[in-house]
């Protein structure tokens, strides 16, 4: 098992099989590690790499190489989907991620439904898919993670989010219709990524949180369409990670019903306690991004040790990283996890390493 590749390791974990140590990844998309430090040293920079497939692949490789995260993650934003569905995008700068300049519709009742096959030929879909292809060909040992913006967040990126949230109550029929349409599109987009080399899909859905929606709306919309999307991806035999933002307390009872292969959470959640409560779930997370930006490598190392000791299945940052996070701090995270293997094999366990 000592020669297990990073790809095999994460796929085994997602399949609930034993591994030598947890993988340490940063999936990409909402949670990408394209920090300024890395881009400045390689010259493969954003915002250009949001568009060009080769540059996107190069940047994903740079991030993997410089940070030590054991995956390639693409794309580097949450706007690919909304752009294709019609919203106006501001592509940001080197240090600032792209954002929705203006949502294309004011209400769920005004959404114009396009042909999904046609949409897949538009915008930056082809760039992302090609980047997945380049990455998977060149380094077969490293998993390629394709990232999706979840059904509710994508819907709230094409419909004005304030109207959208109200219409989840006021106009359920059209709200369901829009989210269902967005989900169908996401499944097809995921399929293209998987067919072209993505090994797994990670879904970030920051609008679909308990804090924003509350338990009723979470169950009616978030759980339903996340599961529809997950089932769609599973039918292509690819595993899925779902990241839930913020405090999950009001919707915790639904977490075991999310059919993903791992659940990633924000730093506010005690993953150890979540694991104890729901032993069936595979946990991912959740090193504070505050610490990665403002902490020291020593502090990052200590917190990473804590996650390892708590038996978290996949170690990763807790949320989206600041582009000004320090490379030393990120390396402290990945190095600590990788050295964990040494502890496991050594007969001289450090005193504090009690498992």
């Amino acid at each position: 098992m000592s020669n297990i590749s990073p790809k095999e390791r994460i796929l085994r974990v997602l399949n609930k099989k034993k591994v030598d140590r947890p993988p340490v990844i940063c999936p990409g998309g909402m949670m990408n590690a394209a920090i300024v430090d890395v881009m400045k040293s390689t010259g493969h920079t954003l915002p250009e790499a949001h568009h060009d497939d080769r540059l996107m692949a190069e940047l994903a490789r740079d991030v993997h190489k410089y940070t030590g995260f054991e995956n390639f993650g693409i794309p580097f934003c949450m706007t690919v989907e909304a752009e294709v569905l019609g919203s106006e995008i501001n592509f940001g700068t080197l240090a600032c991620e792209p954002k929705i300049e203006k949502e294309v519709f004011d209400s769920v009742s005004e959404v114009v439904y396009q042909d999904i096959g046609q949409m897949l030929k538009k915008g930056r879909i082809e760039s992302v898919v090609q980047a997945a292809y380049h990455l998977s060909r060149k380094n077969t040992d490293v998993p390629v993670v394709g990232n999706l913006t979840g059904p509710l967040s994508t819907s709230a990126s094409i419909v004005n989010p304030v109207s959208f949230l109200k219409e989840l109550r006021k106009d359920k029929e059209n709200a369901h219709k829009v989210i269902n349409y967005v989900t169908d599109f996401l499944i097809e987009y995921a399929k293209l990524m998987i067919d072209n080399g993505a090994d797994l899909i990670s879904i970030g859905d920051p609008t679909a949180t308990g804090e924003i929606l509350g338990p009723k709306m979470f169950e009616e919309y978030a759980l339903r369409y996340l599961n529809k999307l997950i089932d769609g991806i599973h039918s292509l035999n690819a595993p899925v990670i779902v990241h839930i933002c913020g405090n999950i307390n009001t919707v915790k009872q639904f977490i075991p019903y999310i059919r993903s292969d791992a659940i990633s959470t924000d730093a506010i959640i005690n993953l150890r306690a979540l694991k104890d409560e729901f032993p069936s779930i595979t946990t991912m997370g959740n090193l504070s991004t505050f610490l990665l930006q403002f902490g020291t490598p020593e502090k990052v190392g200590e917190q990473t040790e804590r996650l390892l000791k708590d038996g978290i299945d996949i170690i990763s940052p807790a949320c989206g990283l600041s582009t000004s996070s320090s490379i030393q701090n990120i390396r402290a995270l990945t190095k600590t996890v990788k050295e964990h293997r040494e502890y496991g094999r050594s007969s001289f366990l450090p005193a504090q390493q009690v498992h």
């Binding site: 240090a95 600032c96 954002k99 949230l165 109200k166 913020g246």
Partner: protein, 221 residues
């Protein structure tokens, strides 16, 4: 048959809590027709309803969709009642400049804070979303605001918050303004780190913080 004043205000408050915009409009019109005091109706009806909605939000009974619908009802009522406020009731209010820092176009959280601050009696100047740091400072000077409230949902834009405070320091006017911060990735630790005067975790908490920062009790607003 005319209902009593207190009963009408109570119904107005209920209509806001129940997210019933049409009912709020009807009752607000009735306040005008029955020649009740518009300022009192806003205070004991609309604002009271929004305050109760805020409490339900804190108790995790209501969430953001519900709070947004309550605020729609409140604003619909305000549109009807505002023109009928007597001039001498227009007391000087504490002013707050609010906006989402540059780089972020998410503004649900900011809108909620604005709604709650307004219904708590503050005068709020909303710059909108994706605002460069210097604009907060310029606007605060222009309207003579006491508080600058900064919001973001994106980790990559948090630096803009520190920049606002830097500008205040550089211009040597830091002590003239209170800076409060909030939003998804923000924490008390972050607020302390950049030297903000306060952090609030949600919209209801933001009202309490704003009151504390201007040093007033709720009744005095």
């Amino acid at each position: 048959m005319s209902v009593g004043k207190e009963e009408l205000f109570k119904k107005l408050s209920d209509a806001v809590v129940n997210m019933d915009e049409d009912e709020t409009v009807l009752l607000s019109k009735k306040v005008v027709v029955d020649r009740y005091d518009a300022y009192e109706a806003i205070d004991k009806g609309l604002a009271d309803g929004m305050d109760r909605a805020g409490k339900l939000f804190e108790e995790e009974e209501y969430f953001i969709p519900e709070l947004l619908m309550c605020s729609d009802a409140m604003y619909a009522g305000l549109d009807i009642l505002k023109p009928h406020i007597r001039i001498n009731d227009k007391v000087e209010k504490h002013r707050i400049v609010i906006g989402v820092v540059e780089g972020d176009t998410h503004d649900i959280g900011k809108n909620l804070v604005k709604i709650m601050l307004e219904s708590a009696g503050f005068e709020v100047f909303d710059l909108g979303r994706d605002i460069p740091p210097i604009r907060f400072v310029e606007k605060a000077k222009e309207v003579n605001a006491k508080i600058i409230a900064l919001s973001t949902l994106m980790t990559t834009t948090m630096d803009g918050m520190a920049e606002v405070i830097n500008i205040l320091n550089e211009q040597k006017i830091r002590d003239q303004y209170k800076v409060m911060v909030g939003g998804g990735p923000i924490s008390q630790r972050f607020a302390d780190k950049i030297g903000a005067d306060g952090y609030s975790v949600n919209a209801a908490e933001a009202v309490r913080l704003a009151r504390k920062l201007v040093g007033v009790l709720p009744d005095a607003l």
